[in-house]
């Protein structure tokens, strides 16, 4: 029986690959947009803009304080009530983007704050304007602190993208969920799902660890 199901599972493998592609597409899109939002928000937050800063604080706290599943439901079920109808894929990308953006905002503003203020002061004294200071002095140094947790955040993003399967995005988790109805071997089916996630996530985790070792920052004397 076990072998029979295994053969069936091998036959459905192309669907798993399609699901994996969907997972990569959803998380890839949200990764790019979330990074853009996160960097913009993080820079604003670190520069202590009065009202905007408070708003960002509320946004970040909401995203960090509530489960991602609830956020997905809010985007998918409540936005239509306000006249914004999204199909599953867009709703998934939107919620993942907002979610990742909040965490990346924290990482970026943390990285910027970690750059000693003397650096900014020196840049000011040299006559660099705000943009130049950010571009040539602050960000290059902040990136060392930002990069390792950023890659870690990408791993979390890929893993959390499994949650959007519940609103009907046929990612690899949903393919598994479909398959297990026909092939009632949960360990085998979701073992395969796990392996597919592992293949994507594990290299990224290793990369994050390597970056952490390589980019260990030492602002010691400053």
């Amino acid at each position: 029986m076990w072998l029979y199901y295994f053969k069936q599972l091998v036959q459905t493998f192309p669907f798993f690959l399609k699901g994996l592609w969907m997972t990569v597409a959803v998380s890839g899109l949200s990764l790019v947009m979330g990074t853009a939002i996160g960097f913009a928000a993080g820079i604003v937050r670190a520069s202590r803009v009065p009202v905007l800063g408070k708003l960002l604080f509320a946004y970040v706290d909401f995203m960090r304080g509530t489960p991602f599943l609830v956020q997905v439901f809010i985007v998918f079920f409540i936005l239509p009530e306000w006249g914004i109808q999204l199909e599953a894929f867009s709703a998934a990308v939107l919620s993942l983007t907002l979610y990742a953006g909040a965490y990346i905002c924290e990482i970026v503003s943390g990285g910027i704050t970690a750059v000693p203020p003397g650096q900014t002061e020196a840049a000011k004294a040299t006559g660099l304007n705000w943009f130049q200071r950010m571009r040539y002095v602050v960000m290059p140094q902040a990136m060392k602190t930002i990069l390792p947790p950023l890659v870690g955040q990408y791993v979390l993003l890929i893993k959390d993208s499994s949650v959007v399967s519940v609103i009907g995005v046929t990612d690899v988790t949903r393919v598994g969920w479909f398959t297990v109805q026909r092939i009632p071997e949960g360990l085998m089916v979701f073992g395969l799902v796990g392996i597919l996630y592992f293949v994507v996530c594990y290299p990224l985790i290793r990369l994050a660890n390597q970056l952490e070792k390589k980019l260990r920052v030492d602002f010691g004397g400053l």
């Binding site: 489960p67 599943l69 609830v70 890929i158 988790t173 949960g186 360990l187 979701f190 592992f198 996530c201």
Partner: protein, 222 residues
């Protein structure tokens, strides 16, 4: 947009939400205890001198960290019955949460234990403290100071992750939001209330974490 918010229905469903809040609280509390146990065992195995034990624990930790919780949850939910193990949904949920969080706990505890420098232990030995005294007065106070804040951070993640249990039809806070959505078709009332109650737990845990951090005297490792 908020004029459509129906507070009367909210009031009707308040007992349900409070029950959900309570369910989320105890499910997370038990899973947290389980995760600490799993984490300590896995950490002990990881640091053990026996190669095989250490490799096994390492494989377990990596496998958990590079696959999504939802896939792990389905793995157990659909997989345990085919092994002949039939658990009620909530027990499967607690098991999945404990095993998932335990892997992260193991890494946190390991970092705490390794942060106490060997010189400290040597000095304690030189004073003639026995194993228990060394642990009680030298190692643990320093390890805890470093370990507690990330452990509480992991506890927050665990509470949010417990929302996924609603997907295997365990009644908890997110399920309460789903019920009000399907019975009255009021997703805004349902999921915003759910989100608010999660925020309540989040802020409580965060306040506790910062209170604890102020209380502890940090001994910075040289």
């Amino acid at each position: 947009m908020l004029e459509a918010f129906n507070f009367r229905v909210l009031f009707d469903y308040m007992p349900l939400f409070l029950k959900g809040l309570w369910a989320t609280a105890w499910l997370s509390a038990i899973s947290l205890a389980g995760a600490l146990l799993v984490g300590m065992v896995a950490c002990g195995a990881r640091l053990s001198k026996f190669r095989i034990l250490s490799a096994l624990a390492g494989a377990y930790i990596e496998a958990i960290r590079s696959t999504p919780l939802l896939a792990q949850l389905y793995f157990l939910y659909f997989g345990l019955p085919s092994l002949g193990v039939r658990l009620p949904e909530y027990q499967t949920g607690i098991l999945a949460l404990s095993l998932n969080s335990g892997a992260y706990m193991a890494e946190i505890i390991r970092a705490g234990v390794l942060s106490v420098s060997w010189g400290q232990i040597e000095a304690a030995m030189a004073y003639g403290l026995n194993y228990f005294q060394r642990m009680r007065y030298v190692v643990l106070p320093q390890a805890l100071g470093i370990t507690i804040p990330p452990l509480l951070g992991q506890a927050i993640v665990l509470v949010k992750d417990s929302a996924l249990l609603s997907l295997i039809s365990v009644f908890e806070l997110t399920r309460a939001g789903q019920i009000i959505t399907s019975e009255r078709f009021m997703p805004a009332e349902g999921f915003f209330t759910t989100a608010l109650l999660y925020l309540l737990i989040y802020y409580a845990l965060k306040a506790f974490s910062s209170w604890w951090q102020k209380r502890l005297i940090f001994v910075q490792p040289a």
